[in-house]
């Protein structure tokens, strides 16, 4: 705040606040028209992902990923609850920060999205045909999966680095041992099967105990490399706010993943402990949850050339690579410049001793000036994240001075200050982190929002702002409230996704073990104290419709929606069921509602998703006998 009152470096700033005069027209999407772009926003502490249309900024869908979703039963039913299994048990929530889009040759390919879970280290894959979470893999030997899941140019790997360094393997040691080097971090390479998208842990690399914050991988000439910011190189463990802000420079870790893979293939990685779950949801079947153990761990000392530290001022947060793959832009939370490293210079100097200033855990530290391409001087306060428009300009968010700064790559000159209301975190340009930005829209995802909307109690709506960056000057078009704290986003042109979105689950392909495909097979089967109800739904009735069970029975309702019509899900809910909320069953899908038959009586069940003129009649009874 003192810095702001000094007016440090921020000429222009909020003074140039201007809404494009025809903004309403430019964000208006008439009835029946469709938006130009899909925006996928992470939900921060909501653990979910939300889908918006751009430029209208209308909310289309919430995709549950790491958090249970009573609206449709995700995380509750017998099919999806195993998706949230971890070595810590069933964890029905997480803190989700970064969305990454799958890429082919550095360009968005519209197949999958990936999302990290920071709290209980996990990483998810969302299928872009069904807009559903299909796989969640836990990251062992990690505490706080923050610098994740950043993809290599062809989505060969997703990177996941730990935010909170801890003893690896876990051990109860005095916390002050942090500064003695007893705490470590890891960088994890998660392999993505190019056809199926299936995830597997290929390799971990043990790194010094800093806090690894963000990452981006190279493209083009820097294809082999990924870059991770780190803070707290001081290894402070008390009052980190102060202790971790002392060093003038922390580091960007340059990591050669191709070299790491080489060392793995040469047998230089060793077997290491660590248990983790991998949960996979096959098409229209129950999730398969596997507990796996052990990873290959590589020590940097055993693999020369795999990692280098590039000093970067000051407590760097974002690290972003421009579309050409040459520039690595750092965002120092407390820095007064935006430092830009040159990939070519890094290649030139990395193995020359005169360009080194030291070593940490056998990782060479290069000199700041040796890899520096340039600095954007006094751009703003608190530069965090940078995205690129593909036309030679970069946009950097500035948290403290609440603005987006447009500057030119190469000249490092600031072109424009775009005020934001208020403190801005991540930015997203359509395709902006890829090799081929579409470059028309920019959204600024706000971290702290004040009085933009009608007040709704203590917590104000989370918010994002939309800018048009297609012309010479970027213009503010609108702002819109969001779900959870919108952390990072990927925006994808609609034409890449809209035509291949799934409309139904074809019934003939339904391989669910408890599916039935016509009403004639509807039945109730008793196996001891377990009762399986093979049930169908079609407008506007259930089969079987009246059911009798005994008090204390465990009842599984295996419900198949026989509809094959776009947007005719049916709901299923049982009165007073304590452990299971609603199920939304898509056309052709089978899902399972587990119910412990309570004390004797009559219990209604009904369809919860208004399905037809006779929806209200889609209701029946279960009799519980003594």
């Amino acid at each position: 705040m003192v810095l702001i009152s000094l007016g440090y470096g921020c000429k222009g700033g909020a003074a140039t606040a201007a809404l494009a005069s025809d903004a309403a027209k430019r964000v208006y999407v008439a009835p029946g028209e469709k938006d130009e772009v899909y925006a996928f926003l992470s939900g921060g502490f909501s653990g979910q992902m939300s889908v918006y249309g751009i430029p209208s900024t209308r909310l289309f869908k919430i995709i549950p990923v790491f958090s249970v979703f009573p609206e449709n039963g995700y995380g509750y039913d017998e099919e999806t609850k195993n998706m949230l299994r971890t070595t810590h048990g069933y964890v029905p929530w997480d803190d989700s920060h970064h969305i990454e889009a799958s890429m082919t040759d550095g360009k968005q390919d519209g197949r999958w999205l990936f999302l990290n879970a920071n709290n209980t280290p996990r990483l998810a894959r969302i299928d872009l045909r069904s807009f559903e979470t299909k796989e969640i893999i836990e990251i062992p030997n990690s505490a706080g999966n923050h610098a994740s899941p950043f993809a290599t140019e062809n989505t060969e790997y997703l990177m996941a680095a730990t935010r909170f360094s801890v003893p690896i393997p876990q051990a109860s040691v005095p916390i002050e041992n942090f500064s003695k080097g007893d705490f470590k971090g890891t960088v994890t390479m998660v392999k993505v099967d190019p056809k199926s998208g299936r995830l597997s842990l290929e390799l971990q690399i043990l790194v010094p105990g800093f806090d690894y914050d963000l990452s981006h991988c190279g493209k083009g000439k820097s294809h082999d490399w990924c870059f991770f910011t780190s803070y707290n190189s001081e290894q402070a463990y008390k009052m980190i706010e102060v202790g971790a802000s002392k060093n003038d420079k922390d580091y960007i870790l340059a990591f050669n993943w191709v070299r790491a893979k080489q060392c793995l293939d040469q047998g230089k990685a060793s077997n290491f402990g660590g248990e983790y779950y991998r949960n996979y949801l096959p098409e229209n079947q129950p999730a398969i949850s596997e507990k796996l153990s052990g990873v290959k761990m590589l020590q940097p000392k055993d693999c020369p050339g795999v990692m280098y530290y590039m000093p970067t001022p000051k407590s760097p947060h974002g690290t972003d690579v421009d579309p050409t793959g040459e520039y690595i832009v750092g965002g120092g939370k407390l820095a007064t410049v935006i430092p830009v490293h040159s990939f070519s210079k890094l290649m030139d100097v990395k193995d020359k001793p005169e360009h080194r200033s030291g070593m940490i855990m056998d990782i060479p530290i290069l000199k700041y000036e040796s890899t520096l391409a340039g600095e954007v001087k006094k751009p703003c306060l608190g530069p965090l994240h940078t995205e690129f428009d593909g036309k030679g300009y970069a946009y950097t968010s500035c948290f403290v001075s609440s603005e987006v700064v447009k500057w030119e790559l190469g000249t490092w000159e600031v072109e424009q200050h775009l005020p934001a209301y208020y403190s801005v975190g991540h930015l997203s340009i359509v395709g902006g982190s890829s090799k081929d930005p579409y470059g028309k829209y920019l959204i600024a995802l706000n971290k702290i929002t004040k009085d933009r909307y009608l007040p709704v109690g203590m917590e104000l709506p989370q918010s994002a702002q939309l800018y048009d960056i297609s012309g010479g000057k970027a213009e503010l078009l609108s702002d819109f409230p969001t779900v959870g704290e919108p952390h990072y986003s990927q925006m994808i042109p609609a034409k890449l996704l809209m035509d291949k979105a799934a409309k139904i689950y074809p019934l003939e392909e339904n391989k669910h073990p408890y599916a039935i495909k016509n009403e004639k097979d509807a039945r109730v089967v008793r196996e001891g104290n377990t009762v399986r109800v093979y049930m169908t739904q079609i407008r506007s009735h259930f089969k079987p419709d009246t059911i009798e069970v005994r008090s204390g029975d465990t009842v599984f309702f295996h419900v198949t929606n026989l509809e094959q019509d776009f947007d005719i899900p049916h709901g299923f809910a049982v009165g007073g069921a304590p452990e299971m909320p609603n199920l939304l069953i898509m056309p052709g899908q089978t899902r399972t509602f587990k119910w412990k038959a309570p004390k004797p009586g009559i219990y209604p069940f009904y369809c919860t998703d208004f399905c037809s003129a006779l929806h209200q009649e889609m209701q029946q009874y279960i009799r519980v006998l003594p």
Binding site: I504, P506, I538, R539, S540, E563, Q564, D565, F566, S612, A613, L614, E617
Partner: protein, 202 residues
């Protein structure tokens, strides 16, 4: 008149007849008729196709969805199996193709006249049969149906468009039907052409 009927068909017209026979073969692979249903709640439309031997939806699940809508008003389920005509229609078409080949081998005008009569009679019977099915589907409703609108019938149009509740139903020949009409036109033209040459003074 007799001279015309017994006249040997010109070489070009003979090839045209063969062409009609071959064109008929394509009717096995093309829908004959198309009924489309448009309603605000179905922005992509719903439709069904009538083929020589089956009834299908315009897209994979349309027929199932049409039947789902129809069950509210108590209409019988539309399935190929309930229309026995579809069992022998392929043979009727085979008979017409056979006739075209006979005419090609034995090119006399009276065979063309027979062919035209066949097509016209079969066409009229077919249209009547089609109308009868539409009438039965539209009128023979289950009295226990959830929605009963007094006096309301749901017979789709034979040809053209009609409003039924909030649905606009349109019924038109599809490619197979168009080919049948086209063939009829060609045959009539052939007779006109032959007649012209009989009565043109030499």
């Amino acid at each position: 008149m007799q001279e015309l009927l017994l006249k040997k068909i010109s070489k070009m017209n003979r090839l045209l007849i063969l062409g009609v026979g071959l064109l008929f073969v394509s009717v096995y692979f093309l829908p004959i008729w198309h009924i489309s249903l448009a309603a605000p709640q179905y922005p992509e439309g719903l439709g069904m196709k009538i083929w020589i031997d089956k009834i299908t939806g315009s897209s994979t699940y349309d027929l199932q969805n049409i039947n789902l809508l129809n069950h509210y008003i108590g209409m019988h389920e539309i399935v190929s199996e309930s229309v026995p005509e579809l069992l022998f229609m392929p043979y009727v078409l085979g008979f017409l193709i056979f006739g075209a080949f006979v005419t090609f081998i034995h090119p006399r005008v009276y065979l063309i006249v027979l062919g035209i009569l066949n097509i016209v009679i079969l066409g009229i019977l077919g249209m009547y049969d089609f109308w009868r099915w539409e009438y039965n589907y539209g009128h023979n409703l289950n009295p226990e149906a959830p929605i009963v609108v007094p006096g309301m019938a749901y017979q789709p149009p034979l040809l053209g468009c009609k409003e039924m509740l909030n649905i606009t139903a349109c019924s038109f020949p599809s490619w197979g039907g168009i080919i049948l009409f086209l063939s009829l036109g060609i045959l009539i033209w052939v007779i006109w052409d032959e007649r012209r040459r009989v009565y043109v003074p030499k």
